[in-house]
């Protein structure tokens, strides 16, 4: 399968994520959109790593090029998991305080 398709999919996922973050007001949905963007990036990383690995393997079957990007994806996943726990905790606290998860009510940062 050509690399282009992976890129199109990643762009689509990322754009959906951005659009979601920009347009939605529900904090949980925004959160999910952020996850979407992260995963779009993960997808790209994996795809490119595979592509590079294939290209190098033709020249030298014992090379290990491209595996580090796949390791990087795991890092992102771990970070994302940590982020989720913090983010959800914030959202829980927010709900306890203002009984809503609508970010438009969350404008007290200004003061």
């Amino acid at each position: 399968m050509p690399i282009n398709f992976y890129i199109y999919l990643a762009i689509a996922l990322f754009s959906i994520g951005v659009a979601g973050v920009l347009t939605r007001r529900n904090a949980i949905i925004i959160f999910m959109c952020v996850e979407l963007m992260l995963n779009a990036v993960n997808l790209l990383l994996v795809a490119f790593s595979k592509m590079h690995y294939n290209a190098m393997a033709e020249m030298n079957p014992f090379a290990s090029v491209g595996t580090d990007a796949q390791v990087f994806v795991f890092f992102i996943m771990v970070v994302a998991a940590a982020e989720v726990s913090v983010g959800l905790a914030i959202i829980v606290m927010m709900y306890r305080n203002i009984h809503s998860v609508d970010i438009n009510f969350l404008n007290r940062l200004k003061h």
């Binding site: 973050v21 920009l22 438009n104 404008n107 003061h111």
Partner: protein
């Protein structure tokens, strides 16, 4: 060999110590203590000066330079802090410390009514003044002279404005300071030219090689130095500060504005005599300015009614004579006149101070008269001073003034006749002053008359000493005419002016001619004296002058002229600059910078809405922007 010359630094050091003690301890010192300290340090300087003077009189004395420390050494220009002892500076040391001591002594009594800390402040200033003046004459290079030059200017300002609570006195002090400053600028420029031309400021390095420089550059240097001299020595066009300087206490007028500070210009030119001799144009300028000042000031003095103003204008006039002497190459005559003038003018000022003291600060001679009986010592000493300044032989003024006038005659007879006119006016106004003050009948209030008293010994002793000196000091300079080789001063000063006298062509005036000139001048002066005496004893002026006399009484309206052509345009320029350059120009830029920052920050503040969505939008837009920038540029 260790000699007293090496201790020359003591001479200025003593007054400096006196200044420090009186200045720092002015709150705690009693009046008698600060007065004694102030006088004693000057007396100590005088004693050292006498020893030095004796040293310089011995045959075969050569100019001695005493290096104290290195002062400036930069870019190939080395200026040591050094003192030069030669005949000229030794003579000035004697005048400054001698007359200075008498005036300090006089002040202890004259200023007795002051509060004690003001009294100490007065003596501190006086000591600082003596210190600066000594530095001026002792310096071995123009820079040390300049330090003293500025120091006396500062002290003059401080002492004229001594009674600073009076606004008018404060203004007079500022006027003196600014006028001096104008002159100082010329002096400083002259120094820069000297450095540029000779690469040194030390006298002994400049004068021997002065001939190598072109006449043009020497002329520029000497003219610039002369600008400084016109400021310090009150010559046209910068003389107007001196009469106003009478705002200070009378002993200050005697010390600064008659005996010492104003002679700084004379000293400077006498010191640089070789430069002036090499620049005939400058010499002519000096002579003409001196002569013009002598005449102008004499005419003004005729119609002044303030006892100190008359003396002030006579000082300006006498200084004019000294410059005439310098301009025609009669350097010895000029220095001689400095010395005799220091005696008789200090005497006259101190006498005037005694009169003012007795009259309870009345200075208008129209309200005096008949004081001869009440103040016998003041009267007699004042009379001696008047005779000396008028130039009646054998009093000192005769010899010195005559030497200058004969020198002028030899140079150009026109100078002589104009100068003689000035001398006649001098005799006239001095005896007008004398007659209106001491002759006739008393015109003041009864209360003043009742309180008239002779001054205490601290005031009369200096008067008597100065009167003695004013009477006999002339004998050290008896002209060739009367006795062969009797001009001791000329003999003494000859080494200083040697280079100049060698170059200047000797204009001999034949003895017959000189006798005729002397006869004419003495008889004319006597006529002027007798006329003034008889006229003003019987019928003193009491009203305001009219017609031409009014112009003279108003000093030819020179102050008004300066006001109109210098002060007003400068003020107008300042007002214009303030309004257009300062307010709308510079202020506009400065305030505009502040305002634009304030305005833009107010606009930027709107971005902080507190809406998370908006922040995210901006963030995304920013990232996109970077994205676009990295890809396409």
């Amino acid at each position: 060999m260790k000699s007293i010359i090496d201790l020359v630094y003591l001479v200025p050091l003593f007054p400096l110590i006196g200044f420090l003690i009186n200045g720092l301890g002015r709150k705690s010192l009693s009046k008698s203590l600060s007065g004694s300290i102030g006088s004693a340090v000057v007396l100590a300087s005088f004693i050292v000066s006498v020893l030095i003077f004796n040293e310089t009189r011995v045959e075969g004395f050569t100019t001695a330079t005493v290096n104290l420390f290195e002062f400036i050494n930069v870019a190939g220009l080395a200026i040591p802090f050094a003192f030069q002892v030669d005949q000229l500076s030794a003579l000035f040391l004697l005048i400054i410390t001698g007359v200075g001591f008498l005036i300090h002594l006089y002040s202890t009594s004259y200023m007795h009514e002051e509060e004690s800390h003001h009294f100490a402040r007065y003596f501190a200033y006086l000591n600082l003044f003596v210190f600066s003046m000594l530095l001026l004459v002792l310096g071995a290079n123009y820079l040390i002279m300049f330090i003293g030059w500025e120091g006396v200017g500062l002290c003059s300002y401080l002492l004229i404005g001594y009674w600073f609570k009076n606004t008018e006195y404060g203004n007079a002090a500022r006027k003196a300071f600014v006028m001096n400053r104008i002159g100082d600028l010329g002096f400083l420029l002259g120094l820069f030219f000297i450095i540029q031309q000779f690469g040194s400021l030390t006298y002994t390095e400049i004068f021997p090689v002065a001939q190598s420089a072109s006449t043009g550059i020497i002329t520029v240097i000497t003219l610039l130095l002369f600008v400084g001299a016109t400021g310090k020595s009150a010559q046209i066009p910068l003389y107007t500060w001196l009469p106003d300087a009478m705002a200070g206490p009378t002993p200050v007028s005697a010390l600064i504005h008659a005996a010492t500070m104003v002679t700084a210009g004379i000293y400077m030119i006498a010191r640089s005599n070789i430069l002036y001799t090499l620049a005939p144009v400058s010499q002519t300028v000096v002579a003409v300015i001196g002569l013009a000042t002598a005449i102008l000031a004499a005419t003004i003095a005729i119609k002044q009614n303030d006892i100190k103003k008359v003396l002030a204008y006579s000082t300006v006039s006498q200084l004019g004579y000294m410059f005439l002497g310098l301009g025609v190459g009669a350097y010895t005559g000029a220095v001689f006149h400095v010395m005799t003038h220091a005696f008789f003018k200090a005497l006259l000022f101190l006498g005037a101070g005694s009169v003012i003291h007795a009259m309870h600060h009345e200075q208008d001679i129209r309200k005096m008269g008949g004081l001869a009986k009440k103040l016998p010592i003041t009267h007699w000493t004042f009379l001696i001073g008047c005779i000396a300044i008028a130039g009646i032989p054998p009093f000192s003024g005769f010899f010195s003034k005559d030497e200058i006038l004969i020198g002028a005659f030899a140079h150009n007879p026109v100078y002589y006749w104009i100068g003689l006119g000035g001398a006649l006016m001098t005799a006239f106004y001095m005896f007008r002053l004398y007659a209106m003050t001491f002759r006739g009948s008393f015109r003041g209030t009864h209360e003043q008359e009742h309180h008239l008293h002779e001054s205490p010994w601290q005031m009369t002793v200096p008067l008597m000493v100065l009167a003695f000196l004013a009477a006999v000091a002339g004998f050290i300079g008896i002209p060739e005419l009367f006795a062969h080789d009797a001009h001791k001063l000329e003999h003494y000063l000859a080494p200083v002016f040697e280079a100049s006298t060698q170059r200047a062509a000797a204009h001999a005036v034949s003895h017959t001619q000189e006798y005729i000139l002397l006869g004419v001048s003495i008889s004319l002066i006597l006529i002027a004296i007798i006329y003034a005496w008889s006229r003003y004893s019987k019928k003193p002026e009491t009203g305001e002058p009219e017609g031409f006399g009014k112009t003279l009484a108003n000093k030819w309206y020179v102050d008004e002229l300066y006001e109109a052509i210098i002060s007003k345009p400068l003020n107008a320029l300042g007002a214009f600059g303030n309004k257009f350059l300062e307010k709308s120009g510079i202020d506009g830029i400065v305030n505009g910078a502040g305002k634009s920052v304030q305005w833009s920050s107010r606009q930027l503040r709107l971005l902080q809405s507190g809406q998370v969505g908006t922040y995210v939008l901006w963030m995304v837009l920013g990232i996109l922007l970077f994205f676009v920038l990295t890809i396409f540029f």
